[in-house]
Amino acid sequence: MSTFTIEANGQKLEAKKGETILSTLKRANIKVPTLCHIEGLPPAGACRMCVVEVEGSPNLVPSCSFPVAEGMKIKTNSPQVIHTRRTIIELLLANHPDDCLYCVRGGNCDLQSLARNHGVQVRRFRGARNRRDKDISGPSIQREPDKCILCGKCVRICEEIQGVSAIDFLQRGSKSVVGTAFDKGLNVSSCINCGQCIVVCPTGALHERSNVDDVLRALNDPESFVVVQHAPAVSVTIAEEFGMKPGADMDGKMVAALRRIGFKRVFDTSFTADLTIMEEGSELAHRVATGGVLPMMTSCSPGWIKFVETFYPEFTPNLSTCKSPQQMMGAIVKTYFAQREGLDPKKIVSISIMPCTAKKFEASRPEMGRDYTQDVDYVLTTRELADLFRIAGLDPATMEPEAPDTPFGERSSAGKLFGATGGVMEAAVRSVHFLLTGKELEELKIEDFRGMKGSKELHVKVGDLNVGAVVVSSLGQARRLLDEIKAGGRKDIHFIEVMTCPGGCINGGGQPIGTDIEAVKARMKALYQIDRDAPLRVSHRNKWVQRLYDEFLGKPLGEKSHQLLHTHYHKRDVMV
């Protein structure tokens, strides 16, 4: 690739042919503010925040979409540039509700910080304040269209990354608004609740349905026995909410902080990830042996499940019938654990902490419970957990690490790997190999399943069988794969792992906001580090999982398992 020199603010920079001014500047650590830019997607050039001055050009140019040219001379903070940016912000604020004090994103809002950084202190333009109804219909995601600045990031991520297109721009001009088909509630739209729109939203126009108050109420109710589980990807991201660098693991400290808040038991969802591997691995072996529906697809990611139900109902038989680790934990907490501790299941309030907004929807599915109670009562995202810690005045960083509770505290690092794309597959291959051959893999680390790539595959020799395994993350990738299979291709695949969010749960819709691809990579590295150092690295050697089978469940795919740990799916009749 040919390179040449350009000049920015008098500094010489090396630029690559074909790239945009913004990427050149970013490499040189020259910051240009952006609002509508999404790393890795084609530029939209909608917001004009990133304008720079290019010598010889009659107008300012948007650096996010303008290609570099040899000998270009750029100014990123000339008076004209700064004046223009400030005007753009002032215009965006002209009809903004200005209720930052009550806004979920107050203090963590791109619009707010841009206004502050550009010294906007008076309201220069007075437009009619946006007044639009909130959409509180969604089980996971809520919309406040009057806070929307129409940057279009949510529309693009929904369409271009997730291939869902539940939302788009409606109306025209000053009436423009982002909404669903026929402007209906998200609950009846094709939205799959992944929450990627929340993560990219620069304002408070999109946020999760908060359950913090519900959890506080349960904690303060003397009648309730409140237990909590935390997902594998939470411990490696919660630190960011407290100002630490991405990639710090706070597992033990978080457990300690959860106990201080008043949770009676703290369980690790990675335990039921191990349990999932036992069930799902056995299911795969069973399907292969009996000529069942193949390729089998993982069922841990609730956004993906709703995606299949909505867009590809013909593939529901391919989905593993295993519940996700969250729901398995919920089910055994209200049965086995309640029995063991002599508790009334109706008095147990089961909370889960997830990197995910779709988990809220999953927990509310009618088939996920028994005797008129849900298996998981409330789901908190990583962000809500941070809110909970702040309300309680706790800084988990200052805690002494503690271990989670028995009987669902022990986990293998294979279960922990569920947090990253490829992790379920890696854990499954480790155990399926053992289940089918009676021997452990020589090298437990499977490099081909690791890393941020959207689609990965490997053929693994398990005994006589050459297992074709494919790992995809983001539903756009999943859609491509399903279309290929639908067209009659890919007969070599036996097992597919799909994670809804690009990179897996570490980049989930419930994770800290304002992170970039580097942060996601750091989180991923943290999970791999945990796996490298762990004493127990395979799910089938988790002693408490074995004990759970001995004392309660019987055997994988047994009758109890079938009742508690497996589920079924429906076709969804929504406008797609």
Binding site: E159, S165, D168, Q171, G179, A181, M575, V576
Partner: protein, 159 residues
């Protein structure tokens, strides 16, 4: 369903259509049905393999598409430049208040529907209002109010 087959028949007139046929199809369906129903939008989006949110987004971009059936009395208010100068804003304001509907909508009793157009090409008669194809020239809010009341009285007479 007669309604559904009508839509299907219109869509059949556009075999092998791509996304560039979206607006012609929307127009043809509206011509057939008088409006774009949810069912029609879903069928069109399936035919063109475009998400419904996108089809609806495009359709709402243009004033010409409506999503409710027209009322028995269809009121079209011109908001072109000449009509604007002659006070069509007040006329529109009155009619939205009198009918309690926004432009593009239909009253609950399905009696009145309201539409706004950019220009009817009758600028000499500004401000112009069209009621079921009949033009009313130099309309004032009072005059239009009377016209609407006349319609209502007629309906009451019909019982």
């Amino acid at each position: 369903m007669e309604h559904a087959t009508n839509v299907e028949q219109v869509i059949k007139r556009f075999p092998k259509a791509g996304r560039d046929s979206l607006i012609p199809i929307l127009q043809a369906v509206q011509e057939e049905q008088g409006y774009l129903s949810e069912d029609a939008v879903v069928r069109i989006s399936r035919h063109l393999k475009i998400p419904t949110s996108k089809v609806y987004g495009v359709a709402t971009f243009y004033n010409q598409f409506r999503f409710q059936p027209k009322g028995k009395y269809h009121v079209v208010v011109c908001r072109g430049t000449a009509c604007h100068v002659k006070g069509s804003a007040k006329v529109l304001d009155m009619v939205t208040k009198a009918l309690k509907i926004e432009p593009g909508k239909t009253t609950r009793d399905k009696m009145f529907s309201l539409e706004v157009v950019a220009c009817m090409g009758a600028c000499g008669l500004a401000p112009v209002v069209n009621l079921n194809g009949e033009f009313y020239a130099k309309v004032t809010p009072m005059k239009l109010h009377r016209i609407i009341e006349e319609c209502r009285t007629k309906e009451r007479g019909n019982g």
